[in-house]
């Protein structure tokens, strides 16, 4: 049986490159912003670009909270974007069934993890009474990525649901095993 690219009951393939490339580009931009900000937090750069909020960025990056962890919080953000980009680019256009595990890591990284990181960014005015232009820019990127990433995540979850309904190993479906793929649509 030839494997269809479009998931059953769908009008398009959510794993198509046209669907994924824009997200990968956004994640890459997010990575560069966060990497730049972590260079400041690591004292490699002595200043940070801030056109609108005066000392806002500096207040935020030198706060106690941003140094709670052993690595700067911006570096953690950079790692998150890198994970988004890498898991977005890996796999062919059938990956919702051939590699559900990577689609699910991608969905969780962009979705729930992205949402949490956005919330951490936007609560800065509450905690420090200041804003930071590049933090807001990265929050916008994170928010915009969520919607378009979720369709592929859904297709993979539906594929695993079909495995469960057909009494086929969900675990093997998760890893995209061939024997499972042959039994499912």
């Amino acid at each position: 049986m030839k494997e269809q690219e479009i998931p059953p009951g769908w009008d398009y393939n959510p794993a198509a490159w046209s669907q994924r490339i824009p997200i990968v580009i956004l994640a890459t931009i997010g990575f560069f912003i966060a990497a730049y900000l972590s260079l400041y937090q690591l004292d490699i750069l002595s200043n940070v670009w801030e056109p609108f909020f005066g000392d806002g960025s500096i207040t935020i990056f030198n706060s106690k909270i941003s140094h709670v962890l052993p690595i700067p919080d911006a570096a953690l953000g950079a790692f998150g974007y890198l994970l988004d980009a890498v898991t977005g680019v890996i796999g062919n256009t059938k990956r919702w069934r051939t590699m559900p595990w990577i689609v699910i890591v991608f969905g969780l990284a962009v979705g729930p993890l992205g949402f949490v990181s956005v919330m951490l960014v936007v609560f800065q005015p509450v905690l420090f009474d200041s804003w930071c232009t590049l933090c807001l820019a990265s929050a916008v990127i994170s928010i915009v990525m969520i919607g378009p990433a979720m369709d592929e995540f859904l297709a993979s979850l539906q594929y695993m649901k079909r495995a469960k309904d057909a009494n086929v190993s969900v675990w093997r479906a998760f890893w995209g095993m061939k024997d499972v793929r042959e039994k499912l649509t």
């Binding site: 009951g9 009008d11 919330m119 369709d151 859904l154």
Partner: protein, 113 residues
């Protein structure tokens, strides 16, 4: 689509209103927290597949109606601002949107047996 654009703008308004209106810290903190969450849910709902996220704005709108009384706002402008924003956010979240494509039964297919 237009309803989501307006609720996004209302969320942004909550982010900037405390500064513009000079609100006290209780009202300002509340707006600074609720505003971005409304923006986030509205923007995610722009995509058909995740359109359901607009409904998550309803509890936020309800909270805005109640917050002035629960948190004890003292300024009239803060009370009016939160309550009217909350009212419109609820109203906009109730507007049903067209779904043109098919998503294999959507998210609800995952919990059906």
């Amino acid at each position: 689509m237009w309803s989501l654009i307006i609720s996004t703008l209302l969320g942004l308004w909550l982010m900037f209103a405390p500064g513009l209106l000079g609100l006290s810290s209780t009202a300002a903190d509340n707006d600074h927290i609720v505003g971005p969450v409304i923006v986030t849910f509205s923007v995610i709902a722009f995509w058909e597949c995740t359109q359901v996220m607009r409904k998550y704005n309803i509890p936020l709108g309800v909270w805005l109606l109640l917050a002035p009384w629960i948190l004890g706002y003292e300024e009239t402008v803060a009370i009016v601002n939160d309550m009217s924003t909350g009212f419109f956010v609820i109203l906009l979240s109730l507007i049903k949107m067209k779904v043109e494509k098919h998503y294999g039964g959507g998210w609800s297919s995952l919990i059906q047996s």
